[in-house]
Symmetry: C2
Subunit: 218 residues, 2 copies
């Protein structure tokens, strides 16, 4: 059975954030939709393994920071390819705590939505949290970052914990973030010319998306 | 409380279809996402008032036909602004019945996903159906139609039963499909020049989106 059609669904790219105790945490997600208009409710789909899942279960609230198209890849890498168990996600980030206490990123978003969880649905590896919107702001008129633009133009990768993750059959794939090193292309960010074999990359070379070293590549 | 941020979530535009008895039916929806990758499952959010809701509850299966950017507006109007209670949705439509019996539109889609419902979540006015993917095909390399493109470029409207519906405060709004007649713009489709007052439109003029006559405008 083919799963190719699943790649053709359209999404945005968001930071889903929450607060537990004194800790702010967040992660990248694409699966967030409005589910009713009266009252306004939204749904987000979060992997049970993710630290943010614990936060939302505990606090019963979250924010959706809606990323702009010009969001730098290192912000996406920080929130998308690191766990809040290892990294203080909001350290060094410009943010605001909302009505529920959950934080929203301010420097690279077009707006945010803040919501109180009213129910949750277990869907196996993930939970769908359904939440009533308690606040929502638009900051600017920038283009939003779509999942399609992230993949096609920004050449972004999909973490293994995403609902839309598909295992790769390619060589030289980062086990952390699923980035594929393509020998025909090289790595512009690290000034590695096209045609450079993976084995010829210096040991100081790191994944351009998540910063993992060569030993993390399959 | 502002709800403006909700407009900044990204979606595609899909025909969600199902079969009940010998009848094929379908509707336009934007709220469809993948929720897990192993096994591959998707979610769709459907208004309880819609005829398609009955079909999915009865057959426990549906398809997602993923519309291409060049989909004609009259196809969207047929599936989006008419009820299957009044109109035989698949009459005159090129389609294929899948493994579950549910039909997929063939002439204007980039691909489809077919799925068996495994659970449903009541979210008030709507139901979220969670379904295991049983088939999925990509037909071509056309651009997909996003909800943003539908609004901004195709000037499409949002039906009242959509999760993302927002009541309009404008004059001259179609009560059927929520299309707004703008006197400054006119109606290119009907060769109505810009600056034409609504009251000066001929009685033969109909809504360019859904075909409703002038008496259906508020």
């Amino acid at each position: 059975m083919s799963l190719n059609g699943l790649h053709k669904l359209s999404y945005g790219l968001y930071i889903i954030s929450s607060k537990m105790g004194d800790i702010y945490n967040g992660q990248i997600a694409n699966a967030s939709i409005q589910v009713t208009s009266d009252p306004a409710t939204i749904a987000v789909c979060i992997n049970k393994k993710n630290y943010t899942h614990e936060f939302i279960k505990d606090s019963r609230a979250f924010t959706v920071s809606i990323l702009a198209q010009d969001t730098p890849m290192d912000l996406i890498a920080k929130f998308g390819f690191n766990s809040g168990r290892d990294v203080a996600k909001f350290d060094g980030i410009e943010f605001k705590a909302g009505k529920t206490g959950a934080p929203t990123e301010l420097a690279h978003c077009v707006g945010h939505i803040e919501a109180d969880v009213i129910s949750s649905t277990d869907v196996g590896t993930h939970t769908i949290f359904i939440a009533k919107v308690v606040d929502s702001v638009v900051y600017n008129k920038k283009e939003v970052l779509t999942y399609d633009y992230y993949h096609k133009v920004k050449k972004g990768a999909t973490p293994k914990t995403a609902p839309s993750y598909i295992p790769s059959s390619a060589n030289h794939v980062c086990k952390i973030c699923n980035y594929e090193y393509n020998e025909k292309v090289g790595d512009e960010k690290a000034a590695v010319p096209s045609g450079t074999l993976f084995e010829d990359l210096p040991n100081t070379w790191v994944c351009p998306v998540c910063g993992a070293d060569k030993s993390n590549f399959s």
